[in-house]
Symmetry: C2
Subunit: 352 residues, 2 copies
């Protein structure tokens, strides 16, 4: 029986409610498929920051290093600025562990209200693959002439051949495992003239190595339009750190799943632990009420199972989510019901 | 009787079909409201490039300078790369004439198929105001270690206090003329740590000067999600060159108007001519067939009328577009009809 050591960072707000729910479901899948887990909790959070002045200890990454994966809830709380909560925890982990593939599924489930007219479950089912370590998110840049009329700021986006090639390779490899085997590249080479033509060049070169995968590419502006008008076109969509960030919020929004979407921050070489977290935040407005929807966390757990090599168990959890969403059982308020986190969790556990 | 001198650049493809349609409608509005136009055609285009090696002559900007406005169709043709057609014509005009406000209306019309479920005409009616001269679109940057494994590219986004303040001021001034008086700022200060916190700072400072205008701000990722889920929230949305570019394609897409959306490239100080152009491109696939939808060009003409000081005439043209879209008259194929450019144009002329 395989035993996986998982680091658990519940974080803030509803993170502390949905993480136990996620663990419960993954444990249930473990029992059914013979997988064993050992969960170790870390209290790293804005609460910890308020007490100690640090989101995580200085040797935080070293503490996480021995684990097989990191299961994260949500980080952030009113009063703690983003550059503290995110740049003090989330972003150092993503970068420190070279989790360069940020992966988010976009899938239209039965029972979830879709903002688009006339779309059917099954019709929309794709992945956004986002570069997660370089590009538009960089520390390079700064400000000159502060406080004067001549003031200006510069932000340097940096794209390396190594960084671009490996995320493109990841996207093509993923496409190969899927039925449609299609990769769409997000670009903006008509407006952004240094980085994006380079991205296109590398995409063209990578494509040569995957003759079994079909491709297309769109400028980011019209691509967001196609997400709304033609979401059924897509299979695997690959984009830079910023474009991927935008598309992986927009994608879940068009299928109505932004409250339940999961994400994986993956180090494909497995040189470091990968991290799995729901897309939603800590939701201070509903925290502590026991009504948070646990599905984003549970689905993130399913992605973790798959990453750990348990595809069958992962599929069983996603199927259980689909069954519960489609069925007449308990629903949390965001899904139009009046059940709580516990009711929904129990229903998913049973379906597993 | 006012006489306006207009430079006309029909450009390529369907540009050559919809520009005459636009002129016809604007002339009709002129007759009704006592406005006189003098139209001067320029053949600048990819076709010209093929013959002469230049999209426009070296002294192109000087030739345009004496005009009150520029009325542009569409630029671009297969075989001519974007960096030639766009950076050889469109972008030099936008920048050379300091047309720093790119303005695009987002409006749900009766009779236009909206991809969103359950939305009613009148419910969605806002403007995207995009910074049009600096930011993420810059010539600064470059490449190192070309052709090797160490290869990388850098793109510098540059935001100046002057550039940011004037576009924010434009957005707040526009909000003041509207009923809801609300400005939404597109940011990403949690991820892009030099330019976007600066943008937020300037936004906060500008807001102080407009106590009658309400505001909010969203990170670009979740903002695109709100365009789909809550498009009725918005009144004036202001964004950087790149964010504005994305939002001004996504906005028209969510109301189903991407084929008919107009845009103004405006120099608010009127030190230089402003330019008005539809959002759609030259559409090589339907060019020459006489079936292009002229509404984007006509609506751009209405924006030009407003810029020239003829608000009443502009409103009459937009009303005529609305009447024709809602009515049972001729429609082009993209609107689900089988009429041609001429039929639709005649219907709009009559409605004016
Ligand atoms: C063609 C391209 C350079 C342009 C832009 O990004 O500005 C277009 O998308 C637009 O919005 O007018
Ligand atoms: C919180 C923020 C820095 C983050 C990002 O932009 O990467 C978030 O939007 C996400 O997508 O995980």
């Amino acid at each position: 029986m395989a035993t996986h050591k998982i680091a658990v960072i519940a974080g803030d707000g509803i993170g502390k409610e949905v993480v136990p729910a996620g663990i419960e479901v993954i444990e249930a899948a473990g029992r059914r498929f013979g997988i064993d887990f050992q969960w170790t909790a870390f209290d790293w959070s804005c609460e910890r920051f308020a007490k100690t002045g640090e989101m995580m200890p200085k040797d935080g990454l070293d503490q996480l290093r021995p684990f097989d994966s990191i299961f994260l809830g949500a980080v952030g709380w009113p009063g703690v600025p983003d550059h503290v909560s995110l740049w003090g925890l989330l972003i150092p982990i993503r970068r420190g562990f070279d989790q360069y593939a940020n992966v988010r599924p976009v899938r239209l489930f039965e029972g979830v209200q879709c903002p688009l007219a006339g779309r059917k479950p099954g019709e929309i089912d794709f992945y956004v693959v986002r570069e997660n370590t370089e590009g538009e998110y960089s520390a390079a840049g700064g400000r000159m002439f502060e406080g004067t009329d001549r003031e200006f700021v510069v932000q340097e986006a940096v794209f390396t051949r190594q960084g671009v090639d490996r995320i493109l390779k990841y996207a093509f490899d993923m496409a190969r495992t899927r039925q449609r085997k299609h990769v769409t590249s997000a670009t903006k080479s008509n407006g952004i003239i240094h980085t994006m033509p380079f991205w296109d060049e590398r995409f063209a070169a990578m494509k040569e190595r995957y003759s079994d995968v079909t491709t297309d590419q769109f400028h980011i502006d019209i691509l967001t339009a196609h997400f709304v008008r033609n979401p059924h076109w897509f299979d695997v969509v690959v984009g830079s750190n910023l474009f991927g960030d935008i598309l992986s919020d927009l994608g879940p929004a068009v299928v109505g799943s932004i409250g339940i979407a999961p994400s994986g921050n993956i180090n494909p070489e497995r040189a470091h632990p990968s991290m799995f977290e729901p897309v939603h935040g800590s939701a201070p407005d509903i925290a502590g009420k026991g009504i948070a929807n646990p599905i984003g966390q549970v689905w993130s757990g399913a992605m973790m199972l798959e990453h750990l090599g348990h595809k069958e168990a992962a599929d069983a959890v996603v199927r259980a989510i689909a069954v519960v969403l489609a069925g007449g059982g308990p629903k949390t308020p965001d899904l139009g019901g009046n059940g709580g986190t516990r009711d929904l969790t129990r229903a998913i556990v049973e379906a597993v």
